[in-house]
Symmetry: C2
Subunit: 232 residues, 2 copies
């Protein structure tokens, strides 16, 4: 891989604490690849050959059942994905596709599993990343089971705003039907939910969403301090 890419990847929490020597071993065996939009990187059921690190672009993790499919997560740069499949060396439970042209670092799975065993700091970060991922899943599942669609949307907007340092103006990454699938609803219902939120401090102009009355949205969506709290 190119030298210039390394610093931002090495800054990832996962790789930040490991021994330089081991990092060198991992990085020199990895390669960076550019994929066009709408390309399937891997499918459910395949064995993981690599750990993936999204350096630039946008990637969707999704699952399929018969003719339906559902977005499980949207991966933004810079972050790794499918660590759990790599650690357990079990088939993927999700498929991945690029939403935009994306640069991805591919780290050979066997090598990485080996280095994880040898480098305690790396293992600890892998453990932490899995714990954080697990907790994220708990949040998402709770969100699905305990809230209805418009509430989910409201809380999603509040959380996005929080992530962006409280910005009241949000620009959607990707299409609205993607967001709909992520939130577990149809595109039609997302449209209706967005207009329903107009009464609760949200205004929409295309892919640009503005929270005009934060308090009103909070009153409607009732975010939970723990469930919707931002993980460190």
């Amino acid at each position: 891989m190119r030298e210039g890419e390394r610093p931002e990847i090495a800054k990832l929490p996962l790789f930040a604490e490991m021994k330089e020597e081991q990092r060198e071993r991992v990085f020199s065996a990895s390669h960076l690849q550019v994929f066009p939009p709408q390309l399937i990187l891997f499918d459910v059921g395949q064995k993981p050959d690599f750990l993936y690190v999204l350096v630039d672009g946008l990637i969707e993790l999704f699952t399929t059942n018969g003719d339906r499919d559902s977005t499980m997560a949207i991966v933004e740069p810079v972050s790794s994905f499918i660590l759990a499949a790599l650690v357990t060396n079990q088939p993927f439970l999700m498929s991945a596709r690029t939403l935009q042209s994306s640069r991805v670092m591919l780290i050979p799975a066997d090598l990485l599993r080996d280095v994880i065993k040898q480098d305690g700091a790396l293992m600890q970060e892998a453990m932490r990343e899995l714990a954080v991922g697990y907790r994220h899943m708990v949040r998402t599942l709770t969100d699905m089971k305990l809230r209805q669609s418009t509430e989910r949307l409201g809380n999603f907007l509040l959380l996005e705003s929080h992530k962006r340092n409280g910005a009241m103006n949000l620009q959607l990454r990707g299409e609205k039907k993607l967001l709909a699938s992520l939130l577990g609803m149809t595109p039609e219902n997302l449209s209706r939910a967005l207009s329903a939120l107009a009464k609760h401090g949200v205004s929409v102009a295309g892919g640009n969403i503005t929270i005009t009355d934060h308090d009103a949205l909070v009153t409607f969506a009732r975010p939970d301090p723990f469930l919707d709290g931002v993980e460190v």
Copy 2:
């Protein structure tokens, strides 16, 4: 803690590979406690003081939102729970209550985090356990997003049967409303779903459910080999 309890706990994958010396350190600082049914062990938002290991009994992990609540998992012996909260040292995202009188081992959180850092084998098992837990969550979320309630029930029965070595006769642990909540439906709809499955090879007598026609149930529920596959 009593000596007699240790062997079965030490056999847990989590503690199986660690150094005997470290295990001794952990176990001797832990204590075993018996809780009556319907007792809250901890609530959402509390910081984890212990890792919990259920030795005997039955425990429910659940979440709350306003006046609704939902069962997230049912913990059967012998297994540990809330490892992710312990590792991240973040507040619980789920509450726990005993469903039956339960014996629980309490391992001090600070100590265990410390030992995890020192014992590579333990850390590796913790990492693996978190990865397996993450994957379980992915399955559950997919199940919720992609299937409707009667299908979820059908697949639940198939999976339970598989777990019990293909037994066609299943005895429910706990009440039906618990199962309903776990599957994300109301008790009323669980009743209706169970009677709907009568046409697809399932017969019910109280808490005793029999799969009378496995193929018919498979045809109806369409289990996915990966999603519903049993993790090693």
